[in-house]
């Protein structure tokens, strides 16, 4: 028996290299776990039928000496990232029959390493949501308490890792969709710098905000996967070569926007846990500096103007003509109206309508233009902060995992779950969620997480500091 609960990429690689177990032994251990747990958790929409064949190909790399640190490592892949020849649906009925025509760049990179794709992971439809309740294929439940959500939108990817149904996973993060579920399920989630990972082959939801992110049980695992998928790609014009930086010498300086922490609306356990973490860091000689960021309070409002505006244009390609499903009407206009009306879920329809409104003539200045201006103010707040500190800390989520259905009737209360995470997407900086303890509710231990933000392309600072937070225990 392989102990999956304490397994890391490095440990698995050592064992595979020494032949303590085979790639198939490892993959099979995960498949058995998925078989036992997925019917309750619903992390996977599909488990691939060819895992054994993939494992045999990866095993050959160990035999012929071409194995890398990721060869044979079992992955869960969010359902909005394309793997050629396999179904990909963004958990939407509108892509019910869609089979990917090509590999996403991140997938092509992972294929070269010989990783194992176990299956495609559940998500909020087109990544719109914070609880995976918006999936057309049922909610993903939290492995720590199945009456609660796993978070979202990458709830399936994260729950797969948390239930030991995959060693690591890929998700996508537009406003917190990797970090918030990682926090709610007690694993590590990274939203990389805008431009550091190619998004070619990831279904765009809001193109100025979304990034592919990595999920693992440890900071080091999220880091190894990030290093494997990062870099410039001719198919994503904004992607860039990651510059290298001098290693941070000496002690970290930490910024905390105290006024933003004390605005209210944050669960007491979350705040207590955050302050305890700060105390532990102080006792290690790490300097904590109150860093005023006066425009953070507008971040969520900015996000809920810009994101739907972008959604309304990014979703225009789903028209029943080029791919996916088609509902036929009397004429072409009805084909569009019925296909999009019947096959997009409620939240997707709501965001498209809202986005269409804020972009319409007469309202553009009041909403879209103003939101862009405030977005620039928030970026300036971070720029000012990073002149004084290395990284900025906040909680990842204002609450631990909430009950399934609890926020379904009120979109605003659901949107507030993103309050700490949307800033990194608006500003394009990298951010990492690391487990920081638990909140005990109704006899269940619910994970909490801390979010670390760093300047553009300073993922190295996130990993270094993330490991310090991880070691606080």
């Amino acid at each position: 028996m392989i102990d999956l609960s304490t397994l890391t990429i490095k440990k698995a690689h050592e064992s595979l290299k020494k032949g303590e177990y085979s790639v198939w032994d490892l993959a099979e251990s995960y498949l058995k776990n998925i078989e036992a747990k997925n019917k309750d958790i619903n992390a996977y929409l599909e488990v691939f039928a060819d895992v054994k064949e993939q494992a045999e190909l990866a095993q050959k790399k160990f035999t012929d000496g071409t194995a890398t640190s990721l060869t044979g490592i079992p992955f869960a892949i969010k359902d909005n990232i394309l793997i050629e020849g396999r179904r990909a649906g963004a958990a939407s009925k509108i892509l019910e029959n869609y089979v990917a025509s090509y590999d996403a760049t991140v997938i092509a990179k992972l294929k070269k390493e010989g990783v194992i794709f176990l299956g495609r992971a559940n998500m909020d439809e087109f990544a719109m949501g914070g609880s995976t309740e918006n999936s057309a294929y049922g909610v993903t439940k939290n492995p720590h308490d199945v009456s609660r959500v796993a978070g979202g939108s990458s709830g399936g990817s994260v729950a797969a890792v948390a239930m030991d149904g995959a060693l690591v996973a890929l998700g996508s993060d537009t406003g917190g969709s990797v970090r918030q579920p990682a926090s709610l399920c007690g694993v590590v989630g990274l939203k990389p710098t805008y431009g550091s990972v190619s998004r070619h082959g990831m279904m765009a939801m809001a193109a100025s905000l979304n990034q592919i992110g990595t999920i693992g049980k440890t900071v080091e695992d999220a880091e190894i996967v990030f290093n494997a998928i990062a870099g410039k790609d001719r198919y994503d014009s904004f992607s860039q070569t990651i510059p290298t930086f001098k290693k941070n010498e000496g002690s970290f300086k930490i910024g905390v926007p105290m006024a933003f922490m004390n605005q209210g609306g944050i669960d007491k356990d979350v705040l207590d846990n955050f302050n305890e973490t700060l105390e532990k860091l102080k006792s290690k000689g790490i300097q904590i500096i109150d860093t005023p960021m006066p425009n953070l309070e507008y971040a969520l409002a900015v996000y809920y103007v810009l994101m739907p505006a972008e959604v309304s244009s990014d979703m225009a390609k789903f028209d029943g003509v080029k791919f996916g499903s088609l509902v036929k009407g009397k004429n072409l206009l009805e084909d569009y109206m019925l296909t999009r009306g019947q096959l997009f879920g409620k939240e997707v329809r709501r965001r498209i309508i809202l986005g269409t409104y804020v972009l319409s003539a007469g309202y553009y200045d009041a909403y879209y233009h103003k939101a862009n201006q405030v977005r620039a103010l928030i970026a300036q707040d971070f720029k000012n902060a990073f002149e004084k500190v290395d990284v900025v800390l906040t909680p990842t989520s204002p609450t631990p995992a909430f009950k399934i259905g609890e926020k379904a009737a009120d979109p605003i209360s659901m949107y507030l779950a993103d309050i700490f995470t949307v800033t990194a997407n608006l500003v394009g900086i990298p951010a990492l969620s690391v487990p920081s303890g638990f909140s005990e509710q109704e006899g269940k231990k619910l994970p909490l997480g801390i979010q670390i933000s760093a300047p553009h392309f300073r993922e190295d600072l996130l990993f270094d500091f993330g490991k310090i937070v991880e070691d606080l225990g």
Binding site: D319, F323, L326, I353, Y357, L377
Partner: protein
């Protein structure tokens, strides 16, 4: 206040059929979201015009790939096709 007529108009612009039954709920929800984002008017007006990390990236409109090399593969995903073409209902009478 967002009315049913507004929703109807937006739905047509966005090419999304909205059921009669959903109109009122949707109008109410859009209203509450707009009320929330309305706080933006209190934010400073002295904003820099641009976010300095976001920029448009252009490329030369040249060196295309060989014609039709992806056609067959991409058409496999189409709900309706005719030979080398996507098939849609006629738009001109």
């Amino acid at each position: 206040m967002i009315t049913r007529t507004d929703i109807q108009k937006l739905a047509t612009l966005a090419r999304i059929h909205i059921d009669e039954a959903e109109m009122d709920t949707l109008a109410g929800e859009i209203d509450s979201i707009l009320a929330y984002v309305d706080q933006l008017k209190h934010a400073s007006a002295n904003a820099p015009e641009k976010n300095d990390y976001l920029r448009n990236v252009f490329r030369e409109d040249d060196a295309p790939h060989e014609s039709a090399i992806f056609t067959e593969k991409l058409l496999e995903a189409a709900p309706d096709k005719d030979g080398q073409y996507f098939k849609v209902k006629k738009i001109l009478n």
